[in-house]
Amino acid sequence: MAAFDFAPLIVLLPFAGFLVAVGAALTRPGVLPKGGALPGIAATVGSLLLSAWVALQVLAGDRAAETVYVWSAAPAAGVPELVFSLLLDPLAALMLLVVSLVALLVHVFSLGYMNDEGETGLPRYYAGLGLFTASMLGFVVAGNLLMAFVFFELVGLCSYLLIGFWFREPGPPSAAKKAFLVTRFGDYFFLVGLVGVFATFGTAAFAGPESFPVLAEAVLAGEASARTFGFEARTWFSVLGLLILGGVLGKSAQFPLHTWLPDAMEGPTPVSALIHAATMVAAGVYLVARVYGFYALLPTVLAVIALVGGFTALFAATMCVVKREIKQVLAYSTISQYGYMMLGLGAGGYVAATFHLLTHAMFKALLFLGAGSVIIAMHHDEDMWNMGGLREKMPVTYYTFLAGSLALAGIVPFSGFWSKDEVLYEALIHGLAGSPAVLVAYAMGLLAVLFTGFYTFRMVLLTFHGDPRTETARDPHGVGWSVKAPLVVLGVLATTAGALNAVPVHEVLGFPPEYLHDWLAHDGGQSAFAALTSEHYGELLKTQAGYASAEVSSVAAGLVSLALALVGAGAAVVLYRGPDPDPHTEKLGAARTVLYNNYYQDEYQAWLAESFVRPLARVLDGVDQGVVDGGVNAVSSVSLFSGRRLRYVQTGVVSNYAALLTLGLTALVVAAALVGGWFT
């Protein structure tokens, strides 16, 4: 268990990096070389090595779920103890590797993107990155829902701080606010769900016999009882599941809470790569995968997840088609790809979704970093129509970017093809076997493949091909090794990661093995973790959610989606090749306007905030000042008014006082006499 003993260090190392950078920010500038980047790099290297060690240990069959810190002890029996615990299983180990690897690469890339560009406030930047890395790793190893929520919120904070890094401009602070607020809206539901889980099960642990998915399963099987607040057990669990899903929709930018992600591109590009593509946005999907044992019990919630995912995949992909800025294309594409993961989870494809999570982290981080490289070259101009012909000037960026694009578009044999194909395949087989909602979601996902192919190659062609359309593009700024090295690493991974789980190939050749399936399927001989395996999830899906599988060849399904991707890509090549492509999307007319304005999603949300909530607040303020406080002042004015009138009794004339005294005395004597009976 040696590696597991060091597991907390995976989280604490980047946190130490954060503390060092904060210290540097508070002391005089330049106290640390490279603005504090080096401690961060050292910490993420450490985290990556430890993660690898943990992964090896997991591979050897070890699992761990241990309490590391008691946050609030239980003083009496029957009261839940609130703890922080580690859960180290294959899923967590995989995600640890992904997060620490991308974090390391982004730290290195930042040397080129931030340091070489002469930014100020670098310690603040690296502090944010360090805190983010620590929080994200903490989220990944979280062993219960409370700890997951804690780090879920903390990554939101880091996202806020890093999006708003350039706080002196008006745009980034606004985008940061929006990002935090929209995800907070989702987190609200998550928090209600979390509190509800505590109230229902008395625990929020992910693993072990006392974990809430296991308890829920037992309750549904009639073997245990839980407090379901007067609802039928499955109904109540579905409510809880949907509430937790609210947080997922916010964090993973799913419809209708996706609007913050494109705005978040106001942040520095390495941040977009790390937070808004590869890791933080993945937190939502990861959370669903983490508690998949719970969701697999709830067919209604699964259908909702699948529909939301499929719809988001298509919906976001259509918007990518008309965007001008390279980062906007990538942002909507990220939303779309997370839609695929949600589709996969909702359709019962736990492994498929995890696989897509993994490959997407690689190729989308690659694409963002590639875009960052282009943006450096273009002197921070992001408009693709000002680019063109960068292929010759920056070959490393071009070829790695192309690899990422092929993966994104889903062209064989790049990694994205295998994972996206598997997601769609899972949706197809479960959809055909009597789950119409999943089938509809599948259809939307399939259609989105076409758009994905199109916008990906539109982006590649406009950026790198043709003739340079501006002076800047003719003479781009050079990029250094710190930019190229991460691109190469990610490029290799984006190209080859598909081999981890090449299902169609396996079906035909019986080779190579489905590594990822095997990785996630087994409990390593520890029955306490049997409830966290994909085998168990498959069982639950069959027995509890009623998912059956139709017999469809994965090769045929793969060919369909590949064909669609090629059609989309081909259309883009036809339209945008040549030295000076025309802006074809402008021919779409009104449709383009709608797409370019993101279906007016931002508008209605901004309307809700600006034209509904704030005026409502002002009206309430008026009511408060007028009615509530007015009531208070009215009470006081009654006494003031009556006092003002009554004071005229005090004439100031001595004779009047004397007369009153005399009359008063007389009256008193008479009264006393009458009561005392003196005159009888």
Binding site: S655, T662, L665, T666, V669, V670, W678
Partner: protein
């Protein structure tokens, strides 16, 4: 101009009704009350000497009485204070010298009443 008192009748006399009412009530009380027999002083008693002894707390007077020495001293001080106080009140604020009443010969009083006539 010579003046003599005149009885002015009018509504300003109305407050006196209160005094009258008080008198009526008090008189009714007195008249309905019964008193015991008066004890009186002993025939040969030296009342004034007894008062003096009581006032200085010497005791031993012909007529019994209490000791009033402390009250006597207190009243003495009070008189003293009243005298000083009246002097202080009577002083003019500007020069600090005690001045007589109507030091301006009553001109201001006359002038003021003249103004009132104009109203």
């Amino acid at each position: 101009m010579t003046t003599r008192p005149r009885l002015r009748l009018g509504s300003h006399l109305l407050p006196a009704l209160a005094a009258l009412a008080l008198f009526c009530v008090a008189a009714a009380l007195v008249l309905t009350s019964t008193f015991g027999a008066s004890q009186g002083f002993p025939a040969d008693a030296n009342v004034v000497a007894s008062i003096g002894r009581a006032m200085f707390g010497l005791g031993g007077g012909d007529v019994p009485g209490e000791s009033f020495l402390v009250a006597f001293i207190a009243v003495a001080l009070l008189l003293d204070a009243a005298l000083d106080g009246s002097l202080l009140l009577a002083k003019r604020e500007e020069d600090g010298a005690a001045v007589a009443l109507l030091s301006d010969g009553g001109r201001r009083l006359v002038g003021r009443s003249g103004e009132e006539d104009d109203d």
